[in-house]
Symmetry: D2
Subunit: 343 residues, 4 copies
């Protein structure tokens, strides 16, 4: 079988998680997230973000986290502002609209939004009550096209949102990979201090399932358990989520896994740079979009599995390469060798 | 009080309608649209579009008609394709998303969409089941910016939709005004033959309330009465809607009213042309968007009431002028005189 | 044609309303309820209920009013408590569930609920967050089966609701008929003082369309216009609603019409009493449910149109008779004669 | 810590499942349920129910399964018929209403519905289009109160549903426990042959998470993946679900676990029988509701953890005892001893 550079969920989970599942398997615990592991993981997260009153909830996946957070924060006539490339816009089968909310889109080439983009949405939504009321800004960090927001960019966006009475929500499906970018100057605490709510992704960073939703303001989530239950997101055996986050947080395993994913991807990038490859976006995270001759893509496809992302012209297309917490050195070396052989 | 050129619903209703309400007032009738007037109006409409099996339903307003039609035709994961200027996108407070559906937007300057625009949406929605399935194309005729689709344009769009398994829905809030454009080559029959469903607007053409929703394929509306009732759109005294459409259809009153509205607007346009005014869009219907010096706008505002539509630059802005079935010759002449005085 | 005792919306509107429509027809007015007539009607209502800060909104019909009020007041996981006979439960095609809310039902024979019934719902909804949170109590006055709540009954219910942190909403589709019952000791002011929100029905008391929604606490309706627009309930020519309520309020016309409807119905009731007829419910309003031999029903059906309501046994069934603001003395006298001829 | 007889999800998973997770952990697999394990589990299920064309989908939990199945099968104005004790009515925070559908309730003492109960719902929903259209019948087997439907009862219900054009859906959160009741005469094949769709529960029978939704008619689930994704129920690492069902199906492990759970519960029941205890329902599955003196309940609570289910009178209450696939002989023996000591 060809090695997958398709995504960061091709393998199951980090061995530490597996071991923890084995160790705790026969212990009786309360259901629905009231188990000891969830409580411990919540406490560690509150400590890491230095906010004792944060509201923390574990759910299974990213689309679920997004629809829960957004539907719990918005009134029926309020909308969410997002990049045109945003996951909620393009890859969630209309989940946000299905819970009743319009997404106001900001055009973007690099997957990121700016305060100017937000302001333009506000300026064109003044016809009360004939238009939705934009109320929440959604970003992903890293973004869907591998780029990232730095600490200062998040600070600017959050200050702007606060000044406009907008809530700010960060989709952190790949938050560990963002934090693992040294020049981004991020940490869980920095993230938490610069938004109203974010989720910290497990699925794409070594967990079987699991995203930790973190509300920095407890008042925003008083009723959140009702939403979790009503949308079918409350696991009877919530322990499965708690155990995994406990392990990811232990000795900052999440960060090491994010660093690994980024590092492996950058090795591929360096190899492409050596042959003067262009890229669709300027990424230093674990997603990369090199633009290749179609015949070269075919060559690479004989050895590896990955997505052809976007037609550029009749000769060229961009591919998407993703390395994960589990991508092996051997696989990367083989891919690097294959790149060197392209010319 | 200043004369309104703000919209086409500033006056109540055409005198014929008023007289019919007086004449029928004390007759006992069945409720919920089973009255004699609704039935007669339906029969006339079926005859005019030459389709005995058309499903016809009267509702109160445009947003209501749009959300009813769209929610009745789409499955929960299906989306509607519309122009970025579309009424459902910009002026209905998220009514379509509130019933669960995403709107896929086509950028446009003139309020109109093309088959290329639709195709581009289809091309970017191939990632099943991670994206919505585009299923219905929505247009307005005339459009929200006063432009119109001609017979041949509608034919092209409908053929394209049929070839792609897309439904085609025409919002006819100002359909009479479109049909009243001679070069458009339209009629109720032409409209009906070139879409799956449309609505024929009364509110903006001389009725107190009322839009007639017309399904050309009876299978598309088998369950439509359930939707009308569930969304709160079924009037106990449905006779109010039937009586009005009966009058609008009698001797093609709807067409005469549309012609009047267009003609009055074009008189204003001619006056602006004489002073070499530019326009935001190229309209021959009853909406017009002249671009004026801001000082000129202020002058006109002392005499007339209208919307300033869009900032163009620091010196210029576009205004919206609308004439209706009721706009008097005197008011138009005064406005023409005011235009001539601008220089 | 047979005379209708089927419902209270068989005729169009009271002549005063018709005249007012004629008188105001050509006046230009702002759209969407900002017209002078709506404002005047709102002011009169605020004065009648002695609450300057009440939020007042006019919509077209009862199902629409119910779904708007309930969806605007409840969070997604909150429910409404209603009688099993409640209009929202049995006659609105799931409109409340379609906007996302469960109805918790209280069994009842006479269409009325009690504090004990409400308490029982609360007692069985303690498993947080695995159950909905009951938050609003819905009643109709008069009820769907012709019975009514008196002033003291409303006071008890509202005090109970307040003590339990429940909102209290009165569906007043037939509120005029309730107020017209002398022993009920009701008035618009009494109603307003004993609930959080109610609607005052026009459709079933002489208007073409129209229900006035009245929030006694302005904070409950800050965003209500967004809901009205989003659900398709905002009329461009809102004047149509304002004009009608102005007329209904003038010289307490609404009350005179309610009294007429009740009085005509009671004439029928007296005639049935004379032949010792049993009734399904004990009604003194404009709905009545006599239980008749099926052969007698057939006799009456040869002359009059009405609903057969409920099979009682193989020999008997209950019918529903409704008189309206427009029911003539002649029709009532004929029916009374027919009753006398039954034996 | 006190031993839990609270529910059947207090422990994590069966050791075979844990071992399979260990064994497959590092294998690269496609995401979103396209992995080899899901495919194998689907094939085994199709073979067991002797239906090669069944549509099979794995999701995380019961509320999720219920809302997905019901929302995918019903049109917006259609309703589901259920027992008043049904899980979708009482324990899912309005999940079904939140996706827009009314639940029509059948009163019941033993958690089961009958064809008479269904017919009564149909008889009171004839007022088209003013009422919802009942379209799907929902039952649970075993029921929420521990009772079960036998093969012949299911046959009767399904035939009735088919004759009335109703779909029939079986919630099998505890289906293994039902199949494990010898006198019920059930099997996966019997279940599949007697409904349109059912789900086969993993969570309450030894899996970490997981319910297998099985459509017997492939046409009913053509679009189901869109629903799974849109509602946030599609796991990136779908392998987690496939692996677990593979193990549960291997050598009919699911049945052995169901038998164990029932057997342990019946041991408790026998002990209660010896002291002439009454029960709330007549259960032979793994849920049991003995009615005890409150002082006896307090005594048992000092040693064991379980729910007090329902107040009976001032002296007595019913408790709920549940044994699971994991309940040990030691714990059961201790409880039996405690029962014997009650007198």
């Amino acid at each position: 079988m060809k090695y997958f550079f398709k995504n960061d969920y091709s393998e199951a989970c980090h061995p530490n998680i597996l071991q923890a599942l084995v160790d705790t398997n026969s212990v009786q615990q309360l259901g629905y997230g009231h188990d000891d592991y969830c409580k411990q993981a919540e406490d560690i997260l509150r400590s890491k973000i230095k906010n004792e009153k944060a509201g923390i909830f574990f759910v299974s996946g990213g689309t679920q986290a997004n629809l829960l957070v957004i539907s719990s924060l918005l009134k029926p006539f309020e909308s969410v502002i997002a990049a045109q490339t945003g996951h909620i816009e393009s890859n969630e089968t209309g989940a946000i609209e299905a819970v009743g909310h319009k997404i106001n889109l900001i055009p973007t080439d690099n997957g990121k939004i700016t305060t100017e983009g937000i302001q333009k949405i506000l300026d064109t939504h003044l016809n009360i009550p004939h238009q939705v009321r934009p109320k929440l800004v959604y970003i992903s960090n890293t973004t869907e096209v591998g780029t990232h927001y730095s600490k200062s960019e998040l600070e600017d966006l959050y200050q702007f949102c606060q000044s406009k009475n907008l809530l700010f929500f960060i989709d952190g499906a790949r938050l560990s990979q963002a934090i693992a970018i040294p020049e981004a100057d991020l940490s869980l605490e920095v993230i938490a201090k610069n938004c109203d709510v974010f989720y910290f992704g497990g699925t794409k960073n070594g967990a079987l399932i699991g995203e930790a939703i973190i509300f920095n303001n407890e008042k925003l989530c008083e009723d959140f358990p009702y939403f979790i239950k009503q949308k079918g997101a409350m696991l009877a055996k919530g322990r499965l989520l708690g155990i995994q986050f406990l392990e990811l947080l232990k000795d900052d395993l999440y960060l090491k896994l994010g660093e690994h994913a980024n590092r492996q991807t950058q090795k591929l990038k360096n190899a492409f740079d050596e042959i003067n490859t262009r890229f669709l976006t300027d990424s230093v995270s674990n997603q990369m979009f090199p633009i290749l001759k179609k015949e070269h893509i075919e060559v690479l496809q004989t050895q590896f599995d990955f997505y052809v992302w976007k037609e550029i012209d009749s000769d060229f297309a961009a591919i998407r390469l993703i390395c994960s917490w589990a991508t092996t050195d051997e696989a990367v070396e083989e891919f690097v060798a294959a790149i060197h052989n392209l010319n």
